[in-house]
């Protein structure tokens, strides 16, 4: 059965979400032979606006190239959540950072909160890896892109010499998602 998934990643400058969006698209289109689209919007930092990266992945033709109602929405800041929560599809998956988003006025059934920045700091000494950890989380929910393809796309994008840390961050994200889903008894 044909699929079309819309993914929206939102956060601040420095969260690496533009690159994560490109990695998702590259993994899908270059390494997994799906069809994909990626677009982005750089928020104006001085106005406190969120960065946004949108990805569409399909195994068939993509008739309409814009993300309107994402199946998966990642919000790494309160600003991003406030701006994009209304776009989430009714039964969509919301992934948030449990410490950065404190006001969840709309908390859909598919909400998953993770201590993404905290784990990045604890495991890697810096919040820099939050984007890659998030990519691991998303890949476990999305399931249509193979982890191998994501790893290949990741390794082609990051500075040489930083492969080990980034792979660890990616795998940490997958593990966090699996542990949470195991705890929730979700298949």
């Amino acid at each position: 059965m044909s699929f079309r998934y819309e993914v929206r990643l939102s956060g601040d400058v420095g969260h690496g979400l533009i690159m994560v969006g490109k990695i998702l698209a590259e993994a899908a289109a270059i390494y997994d032979n799906h069809n994909a689209i990626q677009s982005q919007s750089y928020g104006e930092e001085s106005r406190g606006e969120a960065n946004r990266s949108d990805v569409i992945i399909s195994d068939g033709e993509i008739i309409y190239p814009k993300v309107e109602n994402p199946d998966i929405l990642l919000c790494l800041t309160q600003t991003a959540y406030d701006k994009y929560i209304h776009s989430l599809k009714p039964k969509g998956v919301l992934i948030v950072d449990s410490h950065k988003i404190t006001d969840l006025s709309r908390k859909p059934e598919g909400t998953h909160d993770f201590p993404i920045f905290l784990m990045s700091k604890e495991q890697f000494g810096s919040e820099t890896y939050a984007g890659i950890i998030s990519m691991g989380l998303i890949s476990d929910f999305l399931k249509v892109i193979s982890p191998t393809a994501l790893q290949q796309a990741l390794l082609s994008r990051i500075p040489k010499g930083s492969e080990k840390l980034n792979e660890r961050a990616f795998k940490l994200g997958i593990r966090m998602a699996k542990e949470e889903r195991g705890a929730m008894n979700v298949d």
């Binding site: 400058v13 420095g14 969260h15 690496g16 533009i18 690159m19 994560v20 490109k22 698209a25 590259e26 289109a29 270059i30 032979n33 069809n35 689209i37 990626q38 677009s39 919007s41 750089y42 104006e44 930092e45 001085s46 106005r47 033709e61 993509i62 008739i63 309409y64 190239p65 814009k66 810096s126 820099t128 984007g131 890659i132 082609s156 994008r157 990051i158 500075p159 040489k160 010499g161 930083s162």
Partner: protein, 250 residues
Amino acid sequence: MSFSPEFSEEWLQYVTPNRRRELLQVLAEISRLYQTYQSPFVLVGACSLLIRGCLKYKAWWDVDLLFESPDEITRFHKLSGAPELQIVPVDFHPIDYGYLQSMQTMWGVKNVWYRVDYIYRDEYYHFHSVSPEKDNMYRIRLNLNSQKYDLWLPVAHPWNIFIDKLLSPRLKFELGVRDGYSIDIRHIFILFSLYRHDPGFWEYISRKSTELTNGTNVKENLRNLLLAKDELGYQSVIVEEKDFQMIDSL
């Protein structure tokens, strides 16, 4: 129409095979518009570096066109379109981001899509229109699967792109938060590594950056970026004392 043999088609191998035809169709249509309407724009960004042979890896490619004015963006958007091409605006007019205006569109060929961004940034069209070469026109006839694609459009010079990216306000934020995943930072390091041994490169940077109002920031931004290379994950990039001497002489 005559074609320049200097540019090669080697760059096409870094476009994933199932998206090559579509990118060539998009670039061919942009070329047609350039030729037919003398639309004043320059191809900038990652795609320009790809065509120039600076980026040699498979990636997700977008097309960025830098226009002379917001009115020219609107005119180009109204004129664009060919029977086999779908154009879907993501924005319906140029959006003001403070330091630049941008209008995002999606160009599709049989539902394979490329993002084509129309950009305006004060001073920058004229900045990119002049380069170390006689002209910056990319003229080539490419063959793919028995189909010919005529490309004829101005492509930004990598040395101008280097300055452009160093002066982007976005870079300041990305450097401030040590964003090692920044695409702009990646390109700057690639260009630095490619050209750092060329004295002509440093002479050009020194002279050319004076054309821009904030051009004096090139020296400080480059110095700060190179000093932070390890924190950004770019330990493998070679930077020597003589590079800092060249920067100091800018």
